[in-house]
Subunit: 96 residues, 2 copies
């Protein structure tokens, strides 16, 4: 299933900047960065729950914001992109 | 129908910073900012097409990125939020 993860991490102090790096890294390990703080993560439900749990532990709930948009399996028809930074289709053909 | 609009606008020059302000303003006129460059826009299809057209004219397709995620009408069950900056439900009860 495809989940869109977007976050706003407060970077006013060093701790915040460290949190931002960790949240970005955790997302990068499992998904595709489509914009600065927006990732598409295509995982089975069990694995996704572990990633979500990790992200929720990384943020400061008083200062940061974390949003999950569950796009389901038919996500291709739900997404449109215009402009730079086009993305690859994780389920598409891999041409070697 | 609810559409998530997220954008990355290149701000390396003054033109880019002006584009960013215009894109943000256009989104703000029609929807709710949920994160820095992420908006939830809940409109009928015709009105949304005009907003989309306007946003596409505002960005520089060589430098900026604009993404639309169509969440449909049952969008409430597709969205989870944790942390700061909670949002209001545009379809929820308005208590005066």
């Amino acid at each position: 299933m495809m989940v869109l993860v977007s976050y706003d991490v407060s970077t006013v102090d060093q701790k915040g900047r460290a949190r931002l790096r960790k949240v970005a890294k955790a997302c990068q390990n499992y998904g595709q960065r489509v914009q600065n703080s927006v990732f598409e993560i295509d995982l089975d439900y069990g694995t996704f729950c572990r990633v979500k749990e990790k992200l929720m532990q990384l943020i400061d709930v008083q200062k940061d914001s974390l949003r999950f948009y569950y796009l389901g399996n038919n996500w291709h028809r739900r997404v449109e992109h215009f402009g730079a930074k086009d993305t690859y289709d994780p389920e598409g053909a891999l041409i070697l």
